[in-house]
Amino acid sequence: MKRLAVLVAVLLVAVLGYLNQNLTAIVRWTVQRGMPKVRVEIGEVKIGVPRRLVVREFVLRDRKTGAELLRLDGGSIVFSFDDLRRRQLGEIRLVNPRLQVSPALLDTFPSGNSSGAPSWPVRRIVCDYAEVSMGGFGGSSPDISFKCSFDWRSPGDPSAPLDFTLWDLRASAPGFSSPFLSLDIVRVQATPAGIFQHGVITSVDVDGGSLLLGAALQQLLSGPPASGNPPATAWKLGRLDIQGVRARLEDTRETATDISFLLNTTLHDVSLAGAASALGGESQSVEIEDLEILSPYDPFVKVLTMRRVSLRFTLGGLLRKELAEVAINNPAIYVGQDLFWYMEDAQKRLPGGTGPGWKIGVLKVESGHLLVGSGGRAKYGVPLNFHATASDISLDNLATLKIQTAFQIPRQDYAFPDYHLAISTREGDLQFAYPPEKNVNNLVGKVFLDAIRWRQYQSSDAWLSATFDKTGINGDFGGRMYGGYMKGGFSFLFEEGAPWIGWLSGEQINLKSFTDVIAPKNFRMSGPLDFKLQMDAFGSGIERIRGAFHAAKPGRMEIGKLDDLLANLPASWSNLKRSSSRLALETLRNFDYDKADGELWFVLGQGVLGLKLQGPLGSRKFDIVLHADESGRGRWKDKP
């Protein structure tokens, strides 16, 4: 009996020695038997002290492809004889596991209880640092990677809390190098019963991160359903709390403004799919202040500034390129060559044929005003404060953009001292349509003015119509003037030096009123006058004027200035000289005419004004030659 006991002891020692010597192979064989679809690689398994089974370099590979599915730098299982007696394990500690989750990995695990292997409960599973990568599910499943830690106590208890802390979570769409989602910290609370029996996660708390709303997310949402992973609808979230996740609208254009906003929301009792839907449908708003859009060709030239822009949208809407509402406050449109360059540039940058473009549900513009650019630099205000409301705007093609709105014009006085010009606007609305009927790259409008004053000349009940395009501003105007009607036009060219041309004509102008303004008490004509003037200018300096005038009806010319001469003829003159001078001056002073014609041209302060009068008592012909200097050079200075 004693020999038998010694024999058994020796045998046991031999077996234990054999097991200890071949523990790695035994464990590999055991695991391999449990997972026949993978190739198991184990660096070393040994029994440590105290009561610890230590594993080093544990790797699972796909048997067909050799791809690494799971790598564990190390791990240990703590056991006690009491635990073994109770057929349970004490603690499993995983050291730096790196898990590559793929459809192949899911296939390697036996499903359900088909293995029939005896289950050995574990008292605790703990991991301080793990790296998990999920990918290869195709379709609409993103590739996800994160780091995590957990301390799962009593995993055998279905109601024991199972808390994970994830950090540095990144999700990217297949084919995209940059992640569309980065989360700083995610805390997940669940229970084994919730996960494995009811598909419920107690809570998910997200703190910090970024979400890029763009092509990657759009691809995932529009792609085919994922394969190999459980349907998202099967999982439910008791609570989803998101704080401090900055969402940014993807726009790769250099000139695009970076639009971002913070997501802060809490959802309760939603499915994973429902959470995405609820999150996507929740109204968000962003305010952007002091937004400036610059010329594509000159970074010092503004084309549009906006004091404040409020955007209201949903995440789902953004992915569909839809903005629920855009409210723009205090915009200034700088009408000039650069504005049209910008519009052309924006038109070129619009995607063509790759799907629908952006849509705006409601567009509101408040307190906007126009600034007219001259030569791309100088800006002059235009008497237009405007507001606008438009709905259902499609921005996919500016050529098809249609806006019906109104500019509101206040009653206000404006002065342009450089141009010796003052105007008073009449309150009213200016209906505005984009595009206008004929020219799509054009803004058209008509403003009514109570009064215009240029130098000492005044007009009333006037109107002004202007069109803008990339070459300049073209305008027409008209109004009552000294009993008649005047009309004219101008073209401001967007060229260096701000050149402009203008023309003005008048019909039935009351000459008496007009000459009283030009030369009060010194020169007066009566009768109606028709005239036409043309002028060239650079900026505020008029370079050339040419014109002609004609009085078809009889009138009278009086040169009042001669009264002084008549009253002050030198007393030392002889009676004959005084009488003959008086006769000549009075002949010149008053003249009744049937016809009056004239023409003028002036260039930089030089020129000629010619006046021809024809009446019953003869004719009068005056040539007033204005010289800039005393030089006699120039054929036009020659005396007849």
Binding site: G489, S491, L493, E495, P499, I501, W503, Q534, D536, E543, R544, R546, T587, L588, W601, V603, L604, G605, Q606, G607, P616, L617, G618, S619, R620, K621, F622, D623, I624, V625, L626, H627, A628, D629, E630, G634, R635, W636, K639, P640
Partner: protein
Amino acid sequence: MRILSTATALAALAGCSAPNVNLSTAEPIKVDIAMRLDVYDHNKESAKKPPSADKPPDPEAGRRNRMADIQNFKNSRLVGEGRDGQLSIRVDTPGDPGDYLRKTVAAENEDRMALMTARTVKEKRNLADIQAEQAALWRQRSFEGELIEISNPDGTFVWIAKSGR
């Protein structure tokens, strides 16, 4: 005797009333007056400061000084704005006036070319483009009735009097 007859005649005249002389006319007297009034502006800076001989000629100043002459030529349709941004003489004028016209237009074109060449350097563009651009600007700024050279749809060029400003 001679003295007596003279005295008799004076006595006879003294005894008679003066004869009526009718100075009015059947038609009112028509007077045609033609006057020319030359007005000089003595306050012009340009008149006070003659161009310095040691300074290089300023094309802009040269153009301003002859602008009135050019306008006079344009009014008479002696010159027009060409497609190359230069003035072109359209009517061959003989004698001194012709000499003055040719000299003035040559100086104007020289200054215009200097300005356009300076732009090619500043804007790093070729001269032909600048000339075409300037020609377009000159055409646009021309007054109604002034001569301009425009292109036909078939690529040829024709001189016309500008209309419809």
